[in-house]
């Protein structure tokens, strides 16, 4: 497994350092001064052989993740360096460790749409993030099924701030095998693909 965390973490550190006009790329200095993190990544304790390849185009980062937990229909996948992504039926509901994480979301409408259980109308999607003071903020979207062909289903979601398009590729059994999903305002889109091992 590769860690996309390593790449994205450095990019984010650079942005923070620039803010105070510290020297760029000074992670060694930060560690020496005792200013780094006091929590190291714990290697993932995998519970299955499946793998998920994830790309963050806006960060130019890629990683392969393995499953570490299944609880109430949600699978948590983790990189070697401690970034985790949670999916419900292939729909992204949480990220941890990306710097501007999707803290939680309600996948019920999207999951129903992917199963063809909606009439083509709008359904709500609520997402929560942390603001700059680390307080929970809710963002509300109205979503509907868009176009799509060749096993792909598009979902168009509109909030007061943005319009995003999520795409899901389903296999014959209706499982999501590939997707392009919007994470949040700074991470933007995430591409996922199941990897067979």
């Amino acid at each position: 497994m590769m860690g996309f965390g390593r790449i994205s973490r450095r990019a984010a550190a650079g942005a923070a350092a620039l803010a105070l006009l510290l020297a760029g790329g000074c992670s060694n200095l930060i560690t020496t001064l005792g200013l780094g993190g006091d929590v190291a990544a714990v290697p993932p304790r995998l519970i299955g052989p499946e793998r998920l390849r994830v790309t963050l185009p806006a960060r130019d980062a890629q990683a392969v993740l393995g499953p570490v937990s299944r609880n109430s229909g949600v699978t948590v996948w983790q990189t070697l360096d401690g970034i985790s992504l949670s999916f419900h039926s292939g729909v992204l509901i949480e990220t941890r460790g990306l710097g501007h994480d999707l803290m939680s979301s309600d996948p019920a409408g999207t999951v129903a749409m992917l199963r063809g259980a909606t009439d083509g109308g709008y359904y709500p999607q609520i997402r929560t993030y942390l603001d700059g003071e680390q307080r929970t903020v809710f963002r509300s979207f109205q979503c509907r099924r868009g176009g799509g062909s060749g096993g792909r289903i598009d979902e168009i979601c509109v909030s007061p701030d943005e319009t995003v398009t999520n795409s899901y590729w389903l296999d014959a059994a209706g499982r999501v095998i590939k997707s392009r999903q919007w994470v949040g305002p700074t991470i933007e889109y995430m591409e996922t693909q199941q990897v067979l091992r």
């Binding site: 006009l21 710097g99 700059g132």
Partner: protein, 533 residues
């Protein structure tokens, strides 16, 4: 002019500063001045100004004034960063780069710390495959200790009774205590025997139990991926004040810790050189022989710096309790920053106590005692502190000077709301003066603190000297805000235009209010957004 008494302004100069000179307002010669500003594009702003001030005192000694017209341009390079140029008085050219920081906009709002361990539901396949007794086999305590330690949390004590596990923790990493509690509960869900249904998590500081949070294990299992899991889990946690003592595990005490770090000590506003600094190495060590006991010390060795170059000597007519700082900088290298033995204790459920003996700070050694009454969830707290101290030698080694004084304060703390905190300290200060200090801080939930303080004592303005009374600003920037990494360190500084001897307090470490408050309500609720992070 319309009113003849406005025609002459009282002469400048005189006075000590620190007072409002309203007698000068609207007095003296008057003339027309003004300017125009043109927002040429979204990023470019042009300004022109006509100045009628002839600068009879400043021109030509400070600059020459050949023109009454000033021109400027400002360009927004990116949000918060502006580059501006100006042409002043026909002779002066200036360039300025401004970078603004907004405490509410860190680069990484949710932090970059590694993901927390997932909750392990008792009904899951992985949990069911465990042998029933896995929880209490040999090495159980060691595995809990290690799993918490991986998360930056120190296990202080662990007791199982009936269907509940009482876990005392010390948070060494997270600026918001709620995150340490959330990670502790996640770790416990992975390791506790299946019969355990309630996690009682007790945050500890200085060996004192501060809060007690009862969290149901089944709530952890069902709310982990809930849309509103943060609020739901807070609403279901029962938070109270713990009774009685801690129950430390056998491996917790004694504990020895040391650290070698660089330090930077700046000094501002000396008229001879407004920015001075020392840079060097600092070795600190701490020893905790038993719960509530802390023995700590630190030494510093300068590597480079120019603090010792300051030549201004104190002209204070008060005892030189602070104003000899230049002598301390000049004669001290290497120095013992502090060398203390402290005892923390809880004489009552909502009462916290501290006694500290030794070399308390750079300039004073002696004994300091403090009591704090602070109920969980109350916006008010009351404290009392008494110190008997003797001034340390300028070389900051083991010797003392002859000045001795008893000081002490009664302190009232008030969490006003909306991030504002007020503190009023009344009592006796280092120079033997009596008075009070009012401090108001704006605290951001991410750890930024910006505040102002002022001290008025029975020292007359004329005796105090320049500035008339002690006042200043203090600012604290958390390292985690800059890096996004979990780290409880903050860069804190106090900005005073001048440091004199009236209204000065002993700077003893480990004051109780700042230790206890983050572990109590309402700080826990304010940080609960990070419970699941």
């Amino acid at each position: 002019m319309f009113i003849s008494k406005l025609e002459t302004r009282p002469p400048p100069g005189g006075g000590l500063g620190g007072t409002v000179r309203s007698a000068s307002w609207f007095r003296g010669d008057a003339a027309l001045f003004g300017g125009v500003e043109w927002q040429a594009t979204d990023r470019l702003k042009l300004t022109a100004e006509y100045s009628s001030d002839a600068y009879p005192i400043e021109s030509p000694s400070a600059f020459s004034r050949d023109s009454q017209l000033n021109l400027g341009a400002s360009y927004k390079l990116r949000p918060g960063i502006d580059l501006s140029v100006r042409y002043l008085y026909g002779t002066e050219f200036g360039v300025q780069l401004t970078a603004a920081l907004n405490p509410k906009e860190p680069a990484n709002p949710s932090g970059r710390e590694p993901a927390p361990p997932p909750v392990l539901a008792r009904a899951s396949a992985a949990a069911l495959s465990w042998p029933a007794s896995i929880g209490e086999r040999d090495g159980f305590r060691a595995r809990v200790t290690e799993a918490l330690s991986e998360q930056g949390i120190r296990l202080h004590g662990l007791t199982l009774s009936g269907d509940s596990a009482r876990v005392e923790i010390e948070n060494t990493a997270y600026p918001l205590e709620a995150q340490a509690i959330g990670r502790t509960a996640r770790v416990l869900s992975r390791l506790m025997p299946a019969r355990i249904e309630t996690f009682v998590i007790v945050p500890i500081t200085g060996g004192m139990p501060v809060s007690q949070l009862a969290i149901r294990r089944s709530d952890m299992e069902t709310l982990e991926h809930d849309l509103d899991g943060s609020w739901k889990s807070f609403a279901r946690a029962r938070i109270s004040s713990p009774e009685g003592l801690t129950m430390p595990g056998p491996e917790r005490y004694p504990r020895f810790d040391w650290r070698l770090k660089p330090y930077l000590a700046p000094s501002l506003f000396d008229p001879d050189n407004p920015v001075r600094a020392d840079f060097g190495a600092e070795l600190t060590a701490g020893f905790e022989p038993a719960p509530g006991w802390e023995i700590a010390g630190g030494i510093r060795k300068r590597l480079v710096g120019n603090l010792a170059d300051a030549t201004r000597r104190s002209d204070s007519v008060l005892p030189h309790v602070r104003s000899d700082f230049n002598l301390y900088d000049e004669q001290g290298d290497p120095v013992i920053t502090h060398l203390i033995a402290a005892r923390y204790f809880k004489p009552g459920r909502d009462v916290y106590g501290r006694v500290t003996v030794g070399y308390l700070e750079k300039m004073y050694g002696g004994i300091s005692g403090e009591l704090l009454w602070m109920p969980n969830g109350s916006p008010f707290a009351l404290g009392i502190e008494a110190n008997y101290v003797r001034q340390r030698d300028f070389d900051q080694l083991l010797g003392f000077r002859s000045y001795e004084v008893a000081t002490g304060h009664v302190s009232a703390y008030w969490d006003i709301g909306n991030g504002f905190h007020a503190q009023l300290d009344a009592g006796r200060y280092l120079a033997g003066d009596w008075g009070a200090t009012l401090t108001v801080d704006r605290e951001f939930n991410n750890g930024w603190k910006i505040g102002a303080f002022a001290t008025l004592t029975d020292v007359p303005y004329s005796t105090f000297g320049e500035g008339s009374f002690d006042k200043g600003l203090r600012i604290s920037i958390p390292i985690s805000w800059l890096t996004g990494e979990p780290n409880k360190t903050a860069y804190s500084t106090t900005i005073r235009s001048v440091l004199r001897d009236g209204g000065a307090r002993v700077d003893v470490g480990g004051r109780l209010y700042e230790r206890v408050r983050p572990l109590q309500e309402p700080a826990l609720q304010d940080g609960w957004g990070k419970f699941w992070r």
